[in-house]
Symmetry: D2
Subunit: 449 residues, 4 copies
């Protein structure tokens, strides 16, 4: 997944703190490591990186004192490459044309082939990230100015990439020609921002100017935005539908569509496809299923209840998976309100089923809380295919809906009924043309290379 953020403006301390805050708003896109790169007052490229959540990996105090005129940041959710500080981004390099720093969100499908080719020309790789491939490709375009070298490099890539980069004191942002991963541009006074999601613009009180277009390269310098193109002509777009289903924050807007709106509609459409005649109330699995549940409840005219409570202090670093904690299971984080559920037929809405184990545990604790019938409703189609474009789905064999049909899956999970949204309703809810959307994880329609 990963989240990226960039800023350029007058040399002031707050722009580095804005990167900290932007990454903080994008924390849901990656919790493994975080990093910031910037050009300091003396023109030197500086880095701060660390493992864990933003507040642990970076020093807000130190960043709030540093001055810089442009900066980029990254939160990492490991997809390619093992978990380690070596893979924390942004990556930076010195090469024949100077210093450059890049941060990347996505997954480049021809990375291995490009790597082998680069190695045969003498390249050494110090990380296992796709980002390092981009740096090498740039450096091998000796005859081109840096921006042109970057464009040349990007034109060789296949797959998903949204990037931010610092090149010659300029902030550069680019989105792959298929538009897999989102990328937005924002502005506040004389400062420009680029971010994975618009919620990261809101936290720094920037206005959402527009999305970076698929295949577009944006160069921001002295308050001016220049737009160039990656010279690859895709047959169609592949904007990620899973961003709307699960990944993005509900207060973000992606390619002109409000994520909140889409999730409400997913719930409403789900109510049409998967009614629950004897359901007495609708619950959402916190937090990802809540908005879908609200849509479902309204459309099916059933009461919406917040009967599963999430511990507000839950965070991945807090509870060690000791034997006792494993035994207690998901209830460490989620607690059903027995009084509300006992003896009732409940409809539970979740955003998706990937491995199926979370659903299984949730159904189990709802049973223990006394639910009579449990109707599990999923606000997306069955995930049957792995994502090749940067979302950390397991391989096919571990995808519950790939391994079992819906009946078997219902029994595995232990629900009384189980029903999924249809792909056409997903497309319809997002309200973008089908040929603009990637639904590969649901229907296996991958980018043809």
């Amino acid at each position: 997944m990963c989240g990226i953020f960039g800023v350029i403006g007058p040399k002031e301390p707050s722009i580095l703190e804005d990167v900290y805050l932007g990454l903080y708003a994008l924390q849901h896109r990656g919790q493994e490591s975080a990093g910031v790169a910037w050009f300091d007052e003396g023109g030197a490229l500086r880095l701060q990186k660390g493992m864990g959540l933003v507040h642990a990996a970076l020093s807000q105090e130190q960043l709030s004192k540093e001055r810089g005129s442009c900066a980029i940041g990254h939160v990492r959710y490991s997809t390619a490459g093992e978990s380690s500080i070596i893979n924390a981004q942004p990556l930076h390099a010195t090469y024949s044309k100077g210093q450059v720093a890049i941060a990347h969100n996505g997954n480049i499908t021809n990375a291995e082939m490009l790597k082998r080719d680069l190695e045969s020309r003498g390249a050494i790789f110090q990380s296992t990230t796709d980002t390092e491939v981009i740096l090498h490709l740039m450096a091998h375009e000796q005859d081109l100015p840096p921006i042109d070298a970057l464009i040349k490099a990007l034109s060789k890539l296949r797959g998903a990439f949204s990037i931010v980069a610092l090149i010659e004191g300029r902030l550069v942002a680019a989105r792959d020609p298929w538009g897999f991963r989102p990328l937005v541009i924002g502005k506040r006074d004389g400062v420009h921002y680029v971010a994975s999601e618009s919620c990261a613009l809101d936290i720094v009180k920037a206005t959402h100017v527009r999305d970076v277009n698929p295949g577009e390269i944006v160069i921001i310098e002295r308050g001016e935005i220049t737009s160039l193109s990656i010279p690859v002509k895709p047959a169609r777009r592949f904007r990620c539908s899973f961003e709307y289903v699960y990944l993005a924050r509900p207060d973000s807007e992606i390619d002109g569509k409000s994520v909140y709106d889409v999730r409400l509609k997913l719930g409403q459409n789900l109510a049409g496809t998967c009614p629950s005649p004897d359901g007495e109330m609708v619950l959402g699995m916190p937090d990802s299923g809540t908005i879908g549940a609200l849509g479902y409840a309204v459309a099916s005219d059933l009461p919406f209840e917040m009967a599963i409570v999430r511990n507000r202090y839950v965070g991945r670093t807090f509870i060690q998976p000791t034997q006792r904690v494993r035994q207690l299971g998901v209830q460490i984080k989620l607690n059903p309100i027995d009084k509300l559920i006992r003896g009732r037929n409940i409809v539970v809405v979740d955003d998706s089923i990937v491995r199926g184990t979370t659903s299984q545990l949730a159904v189990r604790f709802l049973r223990e809380a006394g639910a009579r019938k449990i109707h599990l409703r999923i606000a997306s189609p069955p995930v049957r295919f792995p994502c090749l474009y940067g979302i950390d789905t397991p391989r096919s064999a571990d995808l519950a809906a790939a391994a079992m049909d819906t009946g078997d899956l219902r029994d595995f999970i232990g629900a009384n009924t189980l029903c999924f949204l249809k792909v056409e309703d997903l497309i319809n809810s997002i309200d973008l043309p089908a040929e603009e959307l990637c639904t590969a994880c649901f229907d296996g329609k991958y980018l043809e290379e």
Copy 2:
């Protein structure tokens, strides 16, 4: 506020980890410090305490390895006493009858008088907690066995106290005769638990057996519960109504009433008293106003929307209040979904108004998000009097509703309309007799001493 937890059972490592988990579930009741006391295998009283959230203050890893047969824990939200490790609880002491450890939730109104009297008899105080007063009172009853000394000590106290204690290898729990603060008993196999709220029983998969009654002392030993009384006969009860309004978790049950249920009813009653004829949607202030908003929406037949998004990773330690952060304000934590709000008349439900500043900031960012009219609805009466019984309200002068009438307060906050719940509706929603409830912060009816 503060939260307390106690456990007794067969000597096994997991009971200490259960205290950790119980405190984790009670984290909302205190974030300043946390501590655990237990008798180890050799019969020695052991302590672990620290500042900050449970995961920072205590070592889950170490506790999961320690063995003990009984233990108590505490999370502290400073009311009396300055913020410091010296005031972290449980407190422990050695006195003429042996070793004892106590943790306390509440505020003892005659503590200063008792302290002066104890000092005149040679007592020294090493903390500024009320808890230390209890230890001294016990120790001055030289002729009584420990439990009787505790009962004698408790009978001298006025005000709010729920306590857990370790005395002679037994777990002791007590609740003041007025019943200010909640205290519940739970059980799992041969292990007994005591906790401030039932949600802390759920996390360790214990069954909620019953509440400790006002004025009751419970002694748990070898799987047996003995019930004794504090020899004080109160004219009436003073169960805290603010626990239902704000303090407790919605998945807790206090004195037989579900907090979730009460909050839904508060919202429903609020809709009756404070309708919003031109309102187009109902929002709750996350997280405390959400359930009330849901009740309001249902009762007034307006759509319920989750248009204010709370950053899931917000926690008090993460963001330093730098100049930039103060300038950005509450939006670091809460983000309104502009697209939903722009140009609409919105009804915003919050649980209460104390200082009024949070409401003011929220109204401001909703205006910036483009709301046309903002109708602020408060699911409790105006807080006009300080709490003397353990809730950290400011003195009268800083209570917005004490300093201003509703019209001025509306203007101060910047809402188009402002309306509060009535006290009788509060009582009615909780569904306990008026003479069982403390509503002093709303109507100034304090315990007469």
Copy 3:
């Protein structure tokens, strides 16, 4: 052991940092915990305490910013009481006459009796330190002003105590009537200091004014020193001889005698009593035996060599005692220079033998380095009796020289010869009258009570 430090002067930030530095200079007297207490600008008593070495336990950065007019500090080496933050000093208390803080070095031999008596009068003990006994004794003198109450309290104590205290904005220091533990007074401009050893005066560039006399109480306020007496008339003094032998730093001066000088003389006298006719060079066990070795070498006209090298970065927190580390043993810290030692007859001087295990390991690694003969020379008499006055010696059964005669001990250690200094030479080297010195750990002559 423990080290104490006190300062009083104009309200300035540096006096708190001076406590930090003073404790840093006294670090050799205690590594378990450290603490500072001071009255801040508002007149409130403040504390900072922590486990481990000074730099880990305290925040130099924070202390360098705090202002106060008087402060005391303590480094703890646990003798009485288990290892825990609860026993970290200074202790403080509020009692009928106000606030007081005390730090203590020594061991009070009638503490248990005093505790039992205090408990029978209703006292509760929250630590297991002797210091808390002093606070209770003060508080029980209700009719006396604080200083008089302290004098009354101290007059009830038997055994060793040097204390620093903050009482009513004054710095108070006292030394037991027998003079067991050292205590010195220093001055720099208008600032007065009290410290366990004079080396802690040097680090803050204070002049060593004089020692606190046995039985003296010193009250420092507004640049004036008042001297009072503890009304106990001892038959003789018991100044600790082991301070000179091992405990104090060589750059300290105690009761008018330079520790360095004494150690040189111990070595010289040792050469007279224990010659080594076939010895070819003299080595000191780092660091405590080095100066004695130098004295021995000069007196016996043998070359002094620094053939055992101590890793400069050794500190107790750095190396975990894993299986591998235990297997490698003392060589982690000390490394002999083989080339120098191989095939030679060496004289090794150490300051004392307590358990004998360190000597045994040292002899072993010197053998492995190829030494032909090893003559072990000890610059103090055999330690045959436990110290009751604050030095952490083991009980008799674990004292090597109590369990074995010198011949058996030589074989146990593996040296070719072993020879100890005589008690009269110890006294003679210190150059104080025998009736002024405690030599109880060598000859069992304890204070008669």
Copy 4:
């Protein structure tokens, strides 16, 4: 400076802990960062790196649990490249022939030229270390097997380098053809070690087998040592004389010469060249001047005294350079014993003078301690030229002995007399032929390229 360590042997946890201990013994060679690289049981290259001292940068606990069959480690003292985790070594890379890790001690004088050439061929640099240059040079030898590629790479380097590397499961060590930096081979049972100094073999109880020869490449695998040569024929050797003067630990042996022995002889020769007729005692500046002082004292028949005491707990992380600390100066670390010094003519021996400021501060505090005359004797010639081969000397302008003649320097420092060792006595003390030694920092005779 920097220190390196390597180990290969049967797959067992202790070999990784041995790297930890080896680096710990080499801590004096670098305190900025530390790192370990190893091949784990699955054959994957693993890294652990961090800033600061070994115990802070690395986790002994974790390393003691990991299994590996070969490993290398590094402690860094920044010479080339800014201070940052990015420059912490070992560096590792994946290239066309697999994975490789390298750690490096020294300074490559043609690094910039090599870098520019590599960049022109498309290389990107992610650190500013010379080590990365070596990796790139290897990777550009596409047609050669890894070891041959390394040899080819090393043959292009000029200047100082001792390296350890992990290549194809083998431990490789190499020393530049001039022999600037030391490198030794050790053995314990079936385990082989390579280290910057022999003291690091002692800590793991390995036997010192021999030095790696100048220009030698050693490949260790399955208990066998293979020796190859770097095909560069140097006109002469340049073994660093400053290792003996200051850098190495006295318990190390370099190129067959004991550092302790050399330092004693430096002191003895110094006594001949620079007598002190009215001197009454000889002191060494702790710790680097102590052994020289002992040699001087013996040769001049003056008493040797340890009158400057070094705080045993001093370490670079402990004391923050606050205003107060700067004001107190070097006395935070070193304390003279006034009683010994007052009114006497003292001879102070130090190992060298670089910037001159430490000597100045030391003379000042010895004056304050009452010394009558101070004769400063330096056990090495004046440092007049910067080191180009890996020792962190300042540029010429900041070298006190380059800026001033001895008379002016004496006045600047404040000593009564100042006298340096002669270059021929330095060579003579080390006892290696002049054409085997680098004395460039003293006489400017650099390697001709």
